[in-house]
């Protein structure tokens, strides 16, 4: 399992050489870092699925060496020249780019799953909370158009808090733009599979992420439209713990299956073999 690069895994900052343990954020179990990594950042004790970055995701899902990035030139834009109390969006975006080595919150490309050609878009929560903005929307759309042209199935892995405020209305409109891409896949009979990981909320849940021919979620992933606090203020009531979990959303009919991370690739492979329309 040589596909890890430690520097891309901020939740496991190695402070000292002898810091060999990861503490599970969910069950507090102490797990050997090595074991944690080999288990795809899933807690072997309680099956907690930790966030992972785009590279780790691609490595888990795609056949080794088959990933080819597309549209890697698309980067953040600053159409509003947005500034808040803490400074400018441009600076913030720049810092994020340096920190993550990414230009936007999603990486797109083609690759193979047990030999089946697919187009993949993987969101990365490290990049401004995986937020949907001009660059993100553009890449997700361009990838769906690429899938359409080549008649490859399209798979999107979401991890996002929603639309990026800093690009204002432009961010909002990416919801319509990405869905317009999905609509074209539907019309032409190209499979579109959506994988919802922790978290998939706001403008991303309310656009492409819930529109899969098949929607798959990782266990316990937070999935919902409005934020828990906003809802609690609206209904003047505490929400149950399982509210907006993948399990809750499955129960309410919006998810086809909850699939463990280590079984995800095989699941995709199995499902894609049913597509006979090519």
């Amino acid at each position: 399992m040589g596909w890890f690069r430690k520097k891309e895994k901020p939740q496991e900052v190695v402070t000292e050489k002898k810091d060999l343990w990861t503490i599970c954020p969910s069950c507090k179990a102490h797990v050997y870092k090595d074991e944690w990594d080999k288990n795809f950042s899933v807690c072997p004790q309680c099956n907690f699925h930790d966030k992972i970055n785009w590279k780790e995701r691609m490595d888990i899902l795609l056949d080794p060496g088959t990933f080819r990035e597309i549209n890697d030139n698309v980067s953040t834009a600053d159409p509003l020249e947005f500034k808040d109390s803490k400074g400018s969006y441009a600076e913030k975006a720049e810092a994020t780019k340096v920190k993550t080595g990414m230009k936007e919150a999603v990486i797109t490309g083609r690759g193979k799953i047990h030999g089946i050609r697919v187009v993949m878009a993987v969101m990365d929560f490290r990049f401004l909370g995986g937020s949907l903005a001009s660059g993100t929307g553009e890449k997700i759309l361009l990838a769906s158009e690429y899938a359409l042209r080549h008649k490859y199935p399209y798979i999107v892995v979401s991890a996002s808090g929603g639309a990026r405020m800093h690009e204002g209305i432009i961010s909002l409109m990416q919801m319509a733009k990405t869905c317009a891409g999905v609509a074209r896949l539907k019309k032409m009979g190209i499979p579109y599979i959506s994988i919802l990981t922790d978290p998939t909320t706001g403008g991303v849940s309310a656009s492409f992420a819930t529109m899969g021919d098949i929607n798959i979620a990782e266990p316990k992933a937070l999935i919902g439209f409005a934020g828990r606090r906003v809802i609690e203020e609206t209904i003047k009531q505490k929400l149950p713990d399982d509210f907006q979990t993948a399990e809750y959303v499955l129960d309410h009919g919006f998810i086809d299956q909850i699939v463990n991370r280590k079984e995800m690739k095989n699941f995709l492979y199995k499902v894609l073999r049913y597509w006979k329309a090519k």
Binding site: N73, V74, S75, A77, P79, L80, F82, D84, S85, K86, A133, S134, G135, G137, E138, L141, A163, M165, E167, G168, I169, I170, S171, L172, M173, Q174, M175, A176, K177, C179, A180, A183, R184, K186, K187, G202, G203, S205, A206, S207, F208, A209, T210, M211, I223, G224, F225, A226, G227, V230, I231, T234, I235, Q237, L239, F243, Q244, H252, G253, F254
Partner: protein
């Protein structure tokens, strides 16, 4: 509701009303000149006040409780309105209404958010915050319009989609996403008018169209200024700053290429002159209906797709 930037306009209005009343009871009262003078003054005050609204002031106007609501537009603009109910699945939301309507000679499907004029209506319609049933009803009516081959006009005026636990349970996210997806492929013209508050996904959920129109004092935003301020400024009272930064006014959105045309409101805002507002909206709609009528189905869908593709497409190295 008084808007502080309107300065002494409410007082002048009050005085005019008083004199008009006096004239009504005593036709010989010598008040005509005074009324004319006051009206001139009022116009001047209002023109000045509305000439340079800050974005946050615009938000206040867009949310004004006396602003015309969808049923006002329908009553004033439409020869007839045949309301159609239900999502054919779970319920009939009062926060989004719709039905067949005529505007001049045109047969159209009108769909839009409906806030209430009073508390009772507002409770029924969740203050214009739609539930999943509302979005699903909207989509059903759009599909009906497509089958009947008549244009669709949507009216946007909502603080946002209803953030209730039940709305989440029944798929608020899915309902909005489904609309965005399906609206992009509708084979009839879709005209969108933002008449008041364009609140985020709750607005966009019926807002994908060929032409986006906006009343001059309406706003449209990815998040409410208050929400943005409390997240990015960590202080909800910085809403005016957030409103500025978010570029949510008709002018800003026109410059950003999101809005195709701004419909100017009468002096002093839509809430002061329903008839003027309705007529302005009606004329704008008729103009665009006339233009879109000539576009083939195929071309409509292609152009709409390209329109949304272009939004947020910037040159990169």
């Amino acid at each position: 509701m008084n808007l502080d930037f309107e300065k002494n306009a409410p007082e002048i209005e009050e005085k005019i009303a008083e004199l008009t009343k006096q004239k009504a009871t005593d036709p010989n009262a010598k008040v005509d000149d005074q009324i004319v003078g006051l009206k001139k003054e009022l116009d001047k005050v209002l023109k000045e006040a509305y000439a340079h609204l800050t974005p946050w002031q615009t938000v206040q106007v867009a949310r004004h409780p006396n602003r015309p609501l969808l049923r006002d537009y329908i009553a004033g603009m439409c020869g007839e309105f045949i309301e159609l109910h239900g999502d054919r699945c779970f319920g009939d939301d009062k926060g989004i209404i719709g039905g067949f309507a005529t505007i001049a000679d045109s047969h159209v499907m009108i769909i839009g958010h409906q806030k209430g004029k009073n508390l009772e209506d507002n409770v029924k319609s969740n203050f214009g915050m739609a539930t999943p049933e509302g979005y699903r009803k909207a989509l059903r009516l759009m599909k009906l319009a497509e089958k009947f081959k008549i244009p669709i006009i949507t009216f946007i005026d909502t603080p946002g989609a209803y953030p209730g636990a039940d709305a989440e349970a029944r798929g608020q996210a899915e309902a909005i996403a489904r609309n965005l997806t399906e609206m992009s492929q509708l084979e009839v013209p879709v005209i969108v008018v933002v008449t008041g508050e364009g609140g985020s996904g709750g607005a966009l959920g019926i807002g994908v169209g060929d032409v986006i129109l906006m009343l001059s004092n309406s706003v449209y935003s990815v998040i409410s200024p208050e929400g943005c301020a409390s997240i990015l400024w960590r202080d909800g009272s910085k809403a005016p700053e957030a409103a500025e930064a978010l570029k949510i006014t008709a002018n800003s959105l026109f410059k950003l290429g999101i809005v195709d045309e701004i419909i100017p409101e009468p002096i002093g805002g839509a809430h002061r002159d329903y008839d003027g507002t309705l007529q302005a909206v009606k004329q704008a709609l008729l103009k665009h209906l006339n233009i879109l009528r000539r576009v083939s189905e195929r071309k409509l869908v292609d152009r709409r797709f390209e329109k949304y593709c272009r939004i947020g497409r910037f040159k990169h190295r």
